[in-house]
């Protein structure tokens, strides 16, 4: 299953970034596919992007909500929320493990041989703060003189945007280079920090700052497709703690079985890791 997951990660990354004419056109893909929501975090200003980023879109819609309402347009972001809600209801955070290009990049970086460090569990709450504040509250509340809000997460934090769109667009359009300022520098440093951190810790951005992952995590208890912990086969070996890149702590969390959180453990004396592998990296548990 781990091999299948890798293949699906590659296929989704190619499909959501499937427009390869940008070296000639020097701009974005502008076809009709861009009305489709990307399942993972993938900047829609990336020159190769064929789909839209749900987090970017929702911030843009909320930021422009006052202006839209004044013009009789009820753009509350329902279509975007509906799209990611259906995906969340079906798969939850399984999407992070199987279909997020930025998560895939972090996984590849983590393969670089180095000493590995755990991420303190406390930091995992940060992503909910980013979702609530940077994606919903700030774009809605802090508006300019025209009543327009900014996409706060994209503008000040998102390392995926800098990596997938900022740098490529600056390379493609030299006239944009004159606009580089502190804002870009701030985002560039944040990107470097997360990419460096990804070498030493598993998926640091997903676990501490990703608002889309935080949204999908809300579906942990109600999602349709999930892995189940087989208590009868568990030997308490804690192998799953090392196998899953999201660092679950099954034994420390009561009621996990009831929640059906997606962690599995391998069978005693069984070298196949049949169950363990199936859970390997598929998903974040919280």
């Amino acid at each position: 299953m781990e091999a299948a997951r890798k293949w699906i990660q590659v296929i989704v990354a190619i499909l959501t970034n499937g427009s390869w004419s940008f070296p000639f056109t020097k701009t974005l893909y502008q076809g009709p596919l861009k009305v489709i929501c990307a399942p993972g975090l993938n900047c829609y200003s990336c020159p190769a992007a064929t789909t839209y980023c749900p987090m970017g879109s929702i911030q843009q819609l909320l930021g422009g909500l006052r202006f839209a309402l004044e013009n009789g347009q009820y753009y509350f972001g329902f279509s975007v929320l509906g799209s990611i809600g259906v995906l969340g209801g079906l798969f939850g955070r399984m999407i992070c493990g199987w279909a997020c290009p930025f998560g895939f990049i972090q996984e590849l970086l983590h393969k670089i041989p180095s000493r590995k460090f755990r991420i303190p569990r406390m930091l995992s709450h940060g992503k909910y703060l980013f979702l609530l504040l940077f994606v919903v509250v700030l774009p809605l509340v802090l508006v300019d003189e025209f009543g327009s809000g900014s996409p706060w997460f994209c503008k000040f934090v998102c390392p995926a945007g800098t990596l997938e769109a900022g740098i490529p667009m600056l390379l493609l359009q030299p006239n944009l280079r004159s606009t580089i300022g502190l804002l870009f520098l701030n985002k560039f440093v944040i990107m470097l920090l997360f990419l460096t951190w990804a070498v030493f810790s598993s998926r640091p951005f997903c676990r501490t700052a990703c608002p889309l992952g935080a949204f999908y995590a809300l579906f942990s208890k109600v999602r349709l497709i999930k892995l189940h912990l087989d208590e009868a086969k568990c030997t308490n070996c804690k192998a799953c703690h090392h196998v899953c890149p999201m660092g679950p702590r099954v034994h420390h969390l009561p009621g996990l079985h009831e929640q059906g959180l997606p962690v599995r453990r391998h069978l005693p004396g069984n070298r196949r890791y049949s169950l363990g592998r199936s859970g390997q990296g598929t998903v974040p548990c919280r």
């Binding site: 701009t27 974005l28 502008q30 009709p32 861009k34 009305v35 900047c43 829609y44 200003s45 839209y52 970017g56 879109s57 843009q60 819609l61 839209a68 347009q73 009820y74 753009y75 509350f76 972001g77 329902f78 279509s79 975007v80 929320l81 509906g82 799209s83 809600g85 259906v86 969340g88 209801g89 079906l90 900014s150 996409p151 994209c154 503008k155 998102c158 945007g161 800098t162 769109a165 900022g166 667009m169 600056l170 944009l176 606009t179 580089i180 300022g181 804002l183 870009f184 701030n186 985002k187 560039f188 579906f219 208890k221 109600v222 999602r223 349709l224």
Partner: protein, 56 residues
């Protein structure tokens, strides 16, 4: 005869919550589509979002 040789089947229950959630979000998506939101999303997605890439 065949009934007695069968092992008792484990009772499987179908969880309703996921279907309720998926249906609710599907309805939300339909409302969004009905208000013409995808056109606005497409309009945004076709432009380079300078803010998104940190130079706006």
């Amino acid at each position: 005869m065949s009934q007695t040789s069968r092992e008792p089947r484990k009772k499987r229950t179908l969880r309703k919550a996921p279907f309720v959630v998926i249906t609710a979000f599907l309805l939300l998506w339909l409302i969004g589509v009905a208000t013409g939101e995808p056109a606005r999303v497409l309009e945004q997605a076709l432009q380079v979002c300078l803010s998104c890439i940190g130079i706006g």
